[in-house]
Symmetry: C2
Subunit: 530 residues, 2 copies
């Protein structure tokens, strides 16, 4: 194991330890504790981090985009330079394999840092708008009004257990918050503190090389209920990014809403991700769907926010065969989950499902080792699903619950019950009834952030058009995405300038358009001068 | 007076009365009750309106933009056709003069309806994004990912007391929510129920002429604490627009945050609107500023959310003269306020200001009549302002509090105390220190939604670049505006489509770009085909 860990927090450019509640990460493969002892940050350290972030903000909010882009690119370079040590640490702390998973996750992490670098260099994201004046207008002259998005202030990011790199200390939330010019304080997940320390070392090097304020990025280790809560209620914090459980995200949302000055908590809290298979798709693609679905249910040991754990399968001649084939693929598979606690929680929820009348168990393995489990496959009917609220809970792990439906009317009832979800998927075939296909897609769009045709939701492409979001309880605000370049919008606000001399305007809004960005001038998009 | 009022609610296309708590509007000029007796909507009516709105949503969410535009334009036409009767009613219920105020407000109301009609016809607002697929990419094929903004569902709009038309039943919140395709339920303000009934009659005609579902727009009369609260917690409601007091907005925000499924409340809750006058501006433009400021303090009897009630004036040779001139202009002016209650609240707050040690009273009139008052002008020093939280409360009415500051350091401290505000204004002169001018603008931008140079914040231009928003407590979410075309963003959410056949995509995202809108294709803005 690495000998470079200090077990501390990174505050205002310094590594410092504390005497708070001690904890160690656990290798879920072996159940052994990793050697470094970490401690929760104390209240003084939390306050110091918030104060430092606020001070840094006065500089970072007006950084030229080239400097922010350089930082994001340098962080990516340093994360890559952290090499095997980082990958090994992440693997030891998460049970996820280095190859291909963590290699791929690192590539995604660096890719999204570079995507945000490109976004801020290009600059169009600020949604610059200019309405030109008309001094001759009656009864009142029309003023010169211009607006663009600007940074909001210190942001707290809770890193997620299930993607120690891509949704970790320097994952998508952090990349998007930094890209907008906001200082970020990470509340490190207690399952992978060593990974967070190594990532933070990489960011530290990047900040030094780019000659930027060290408190642009800070790391506090500790639990959500103490360190996390204290950060969310600190008056210097202006927004929160979170990926995790519904109970955790809701607790932070509630804390932030009760502040004297409420702030937004952008919480992505997982979801049911219904996947519909229409009759002709089942009949004509039985084997193909069985294979794809078994893969999507178990990818990353089923620990994806987008795992399609709820399967609405039309009742047709091939449905039994489909279920049998999925069951055959799942039976006997072994998985190591992220933590013993996540494994225990997962198994207990699915085992509870299995006790409900009219729930048929196709595959139900035993626990094994420190964090080991297998894949579950259950089945029930429409009526049981509609009348059993317990079945509408997310089981975070490698499981699938199939609900067999007979009519499009039943499918509509099922959709109505799924309140808000990150994704909804429809498998259909050219031979399926086109009216029914269209109706299913229409209902899917009303409950989901992303609608998928004939595929699987588990891959969340990091791009401009991605929406990783959706109505509550998928997220705390359906107006935003936490993946893709649109994620930057969460950490910015529009600021408007009226009748300012050109020299006092931000560059984004000056007459000669020095950043050469697309601007909405008198309602028309243009890259020309105003 | 009009004889056309039924005193009822407009629910699912029908006018219906109720037996709830009776109320009548009061003519603030005379103190007399207007003849029509209204009643608060009962719980069944509230539920019926929410249910009707939800049913309407399945149709309105997919309306072609031309139909929505036609509706918005027809509403404007019908509001104009309501003619003098509407203007007279609004004047009787608000004390605001027909000419020029309500004539101007009606023009603004119809203007913003037509602006949103133009916006949805043009269609660019949906922020369409397309990332094209790459089946050959390794290790995984790149999917086809497309997203655009869509309607969210039934929206409740609380109309504001101070602009019975422009922020009323068919004001900016309603126009933007309808434009996005959302059914709207109005919680009518109890100060002008007759105005709301007449506006709703106009909308009813427009809905009929456009052959659209009647429950696209509904009106419920009654109090905020009963009818308003019940609407905000109804599970069918997906967002709330509000303009009013901090206490009222915060109460609704808190209710919505406590829902099992929290929804956004976009509350604009007024603000202090600091106006800074730098030394050379005072010296070189004394009379001009005195005149402008006296006008801005008293426009609409001071009942603008953007009234610059807090004036940070540099201490220089001309400051005494400036204050004297403002005082002379304010002294003896008489105003009729919107309601006796608003008048009483205003007078009691300002009179409390006057009791604070080191607060100097320049002008302090007596109450008169049912809702009559005069303009107040008070002055204090930096230390008193910084140490008197009571002085940081908004006094909604024709008053100004001048804080005289000696140094740029003092000004910085004053800015730091003003937490979040709709506007911040700087009066400066070419002879002012350029570093100090830039510092003032930088601080202004950090606390305000709109920053104004050498002008007054009271005119809120309805245009593309306007931001009527700002950090809490100016609004409940600084990421949005409630005036201008950007206001539509509050009532929409991005929906993403992955690998859908072209025929199943919304028109906004189809290959041939049938709506000819600007789209972000692979990160580049284009109006061409994808």
């Amino acid at each position: 194991m690495s000998t470079t860990l200090c077990g501390g927090h990174f505050i205002n450019g310094q590594w410092m330890t504390s005497e708070g509640k001690p904890f160690q990460s656990i290798n879920p493969q072996t159940g052994e504790k990793l050697p470094t002892v970490f401690h929760g940050a104390n209240p003084e350290q939390i306050a110091q981090a918030c104060e430092s972030a606020q001070i840094a903000f006065s500089k970072t909010r007006q950084l030229p985009p080239t400097q922010i882009a350089q930082l994001l690119e340098q962080i990516a370079t340093e994360i890559e330079a952290a090499g095997d040590e980082l990958l090994q640490m992440a693997s030891h702390e998460s049970g996820l394999p280095v190859q291909p998973r963590l290699m791929g996750e690192r590539a995604r992490t660096c890719g999204q840092l570079r995507l945000f670098a490109a976004l801020v260099k290009e600059g169009d994201w600020v949604d610059a708008r200019i309405d030109r004046p008309d001094p001759a207008r009656t009864p009142l002259p029309k003023p010169d009004v211009r607006s663009a998005l600007e940074a909001i202030g210190p942001v707290v990011v809770f890193d997620a257990s299930n993607f120690p790199l891509a949704f970790g200390a320097c994952g998508g939330d952090t990349a998007s918050a930094l890209a907008a010019g906001n200082p970020v304080i990470i509340k490190g997940h207690t399952a992978h503190p060593g990974t967070n320390e190594l990532v933070t070392q990489a960011v530290q090097k990047a900040l030094e090389k780019c000659n930027l304020p060290a408190s642009f990025f800070q790391l506090l280790q500790g639990s959500g209920s103490t360190v996390g809560s204290a950060l969310v209620i600190d008056p210097r914090i202006k927004a929160v990014g979170f990926t995790g459980s519904l109970s955790g995200g809701r607790a932070l949302f509630d804390l932030a809403a009760k502040r004297p000055d409420p702030i937004p908590v952008y919480a992505e809290m997982g979801s049911l991700n219904p996947l519909v298979i229409l009759p002709k798709a089942i009949e004509n693609k039985t084997t193909q769907i069985a294979e794809g679905l078994a893969g999507a249910l178990t990818l990353g040991a089923g620990q994806f926010c987008t795992r399609p754990g709820l399967i609405f399968a039309a009742n047709c001649a091939a449905t039994d065969s489909l279920i049998t084939q999925i069951a055959q693929k799942l039976a006997g598979q072994k998985f190591c989950m992220l933590t013993p606690g996540i494994r225990d929680h997962f198994n207990s929820i699915v085992e509870q499902f299995a006790t409900i009348n009219s729930v048929k168990v196709h595959v139900a393995p035993e626990k094994s080792g420190a964090a080991g489990t297998g894949a579950f496959l259950l089945e029930t009917d429409v009526k049981t699903f509609l009348t059993s609220p317990a079945l509408q809970e997310e089981a975070f792990g490698p499981s699938g619950l199939i609900v067999r439906f007979d009519s499009i009317h039943d499918l509509s009832s099922l959709f109505t019950l799924v309140k808000g979800t990150l994704t909804a998927t429809i498998h259909h075939d050219a031979a399926d009834d086109t009216v029914e296909v269209a109706a299913a897609f229409s209902q899917a769009a009303q409950i989901a952030g992303r609608v998928i045709s004939n595929g699987y939701p588990t891959g969340v492409e990091v791009c401009h058009a991605m929406v990783h979001g959706g109505p509550y309880p998928a997220t705390s605000h359906s107006g935003f995405t936490s993946v893709g370049t649109g994620a930057i919008r969460r950490f910015a606000r529009p600021v408007c300038y009226q009748n300012l001399p050109d020299t006092l305007l931000p560059e984004t809004l000056r007459d000669l358009n020095p950043r050469k960005i697309f601007r909405l001038v008198d309602g028309q998009y243009t890259q020309n001068h105003s």
